[in-house]
């Protein structure tokens, strides 16, 4: 496992927030190598800095100190258009609050990353339709997010994350707003992306159900990496999880 290629390399990543006079150290020097094709879960209590770290490795926020290498390049030294290219082509984001564009239909939401990549509307819609079919929402393509259930919205978000066949899926508490059964379905879907599509899946989560599918678990506490656990030997029966 250690001989696998590193896709994301975090070095002493530090993030400080200023709230008026008060200074919050959300991350205090986290170093972590993430391998291509692995399923990594970042666990830790609320406020420990999971989302902050997630934003850093996803090129969504700038660290106060430290560096992130993505595909061998220093992420925060890259020009804006290269960062945008990474966000568009290499990373698929999934959030606890779905973050769908509320004024667009499911299909348009999934097609958006392809449009931003430069695909024609036609190609994008065709591909988006196929992906929605795959996540089990073929019959909901023209619904607005407000007309979908939480689980369905999260499926749209997963479909959107898959739009440009990314090499990394970043999921910040993807099951946080879902009931237990729907959460399991979403976890199974994420796991299948790793096993079938060789996508690197990184989740930040409280959800213990996530433990059994993870290859490794990074425990974060008070902005520090507390320990790193390998779970390479755990066997999961996918059939029993999806019913």
């Amino acid at each position: 496992m250690t001989d696998r290629a590193v896709i994301i390399r975090a070095r002493d990543v530090t993030r400080r927030y200023k709230l008026g006079e008060e200074i919050v150290w959300a991350l205090q020097g986290v170093s972590l190598d993430i391998f291509e094709g692995e399923y990594l879960s970042i666990m830790g209590p609320s406020g420990s800095g999971k989302s902050t770290f997630f934003n850093m490795i996803g090129a969504l926020d700038i660290p106060t100190a430290g560096s992130i290498e993505f595909m061998g390049e220093d992420l925060f030294r890259l020009p804006e258009d290269k960062q945008a290219w990474i966000r568009c082509n290499q990373i698929g984001y999934i959030f606890q609050t779905y973050n769908l564009v509320m004024v667009m239909t499911a299909l348009e939401n999934v097609a958006l990353p392809m449009i931003l990549k430069g695909d024609t509307r036609r190609d994008a819609n065709a591909k988006a339709g196929a992906i929605l079919e795959r996540v089990g929402l073929g019959h909901r393509v023209d619904h607005l997010p407000s007309q979908l259930s939480g689980g369905q919205m999260q499926r749209v978000a997963i479909a959107r994350a898959l739009a440009n066949s990314p090499s990394v899926i970043l999921a910040d508490e993807p099951t946080g707003n879902l009931d237990s059964k729907t959460g399991e379905e979403i976890i199974a879907l994420l796991k299948s992306l790793q096993t079938d599509d060789r996508v690197t899946v990184i989740t930040a989560t409280h959800d213990v159900k996530m433990l059994s599918v993870s290859d490794r678990i990074a425990w974060i506490r008070d902005g520090r990496l507390e320990r790193l656990e390998a779970r390479a030997n755990v066997q999961i029966d996918m059939g029993s999880m999806t019913h």
């Binding site: 934003n55 969504l60 926020d61 595909m71 945008a84 290219w85 568009c88 290499q90 004024v103 990549k117």
Partner: protein, 334 residues
Amino acid sequence: MEKIGRQVRLPLATAMQISLQGIRIRLGRALVTLSGVVLGIAFLMSVITGEFINAAVKQEREVRNQTTLMSTFVTSEVGAVAGKTLSVAVFGALSAPEQALLAGLAAEHATLRAYGYSGTGVTAVPAGRLGEGSALLLVLGDNPAPGIALGGLMAGMVQPVALDARLRTYPDTPPGRLEHFGIQSAEMLAKAREAERQQGFRTRWIVIISLLVTVIGIANALLMSVTERFKEIGTMKCLGALSGFIRRLFLIESAVIGFVGSFVGLLVGLAFPLLAYGVTFGFPAVFSALDGKRLALSALLCLTAGTALSILAAIYPANFAARMVPASALRSNV
């Protein structure tokens, strides 16, 4: 491993499409912003159109003023003219206000005895018998008529009062009162011109202020819509949108709203003065007075000004949205 590429800069058409879709779906909000533009441009256009029509009907208006001035003189001498006998001596050609005055007197059922003039309800009489039984003598026309004696014209009047519309001099001393009426002094003309100048000055100020208010209104509305869309902006950036693309979305949105708003505004701003002046001076007079080419030019000016000002107002909000760090844009819970 793949090499890191550069995100493509999307064609304007794509930005346009996404922007228009946003407007269509948030139509209510767009209409609020739009109404601000409509009001501002309608005001600008109505001021311009009003000025044009005003200039065109200026002559007509002066005739009216002059006529009113003269008929006020007449009524202040004799009271209501209905049933009164008035005599009229005309030398040379009548001016437009003089014609209007006579037509007005006839319409109000004054009995007119006239020398050198004929019309419906007017009795033509020789110069020597003009004054018989009349309450007032009006001397009109552009001919100075130097040899005419007032004594002859006023003989036999019930009240020997003569009103002369021009500054004529007579060889004899009038047998009663002689006054000149309907003549504006140089002083009065200068005063009128000064008032007009100040009016123009005031109008320009009001236009400038109303446009300023429009710009601030649009900027404010757009800032609000940027704030409402923080999350959407963050999401777009997550999905690979460049800052320039975000900026463009807002600029296009504002330009479209500005253009449509200006168009509606200029139609409204055209219709109002046309209606107002049309009711006062008659529609044929107003329409024939309009200069199509100048009007088209000012319509173009309004359209350009409205669109340009809307884009100007969008620059700050659009830059604000474009510069947001994705993580902080996503955090917002508006």
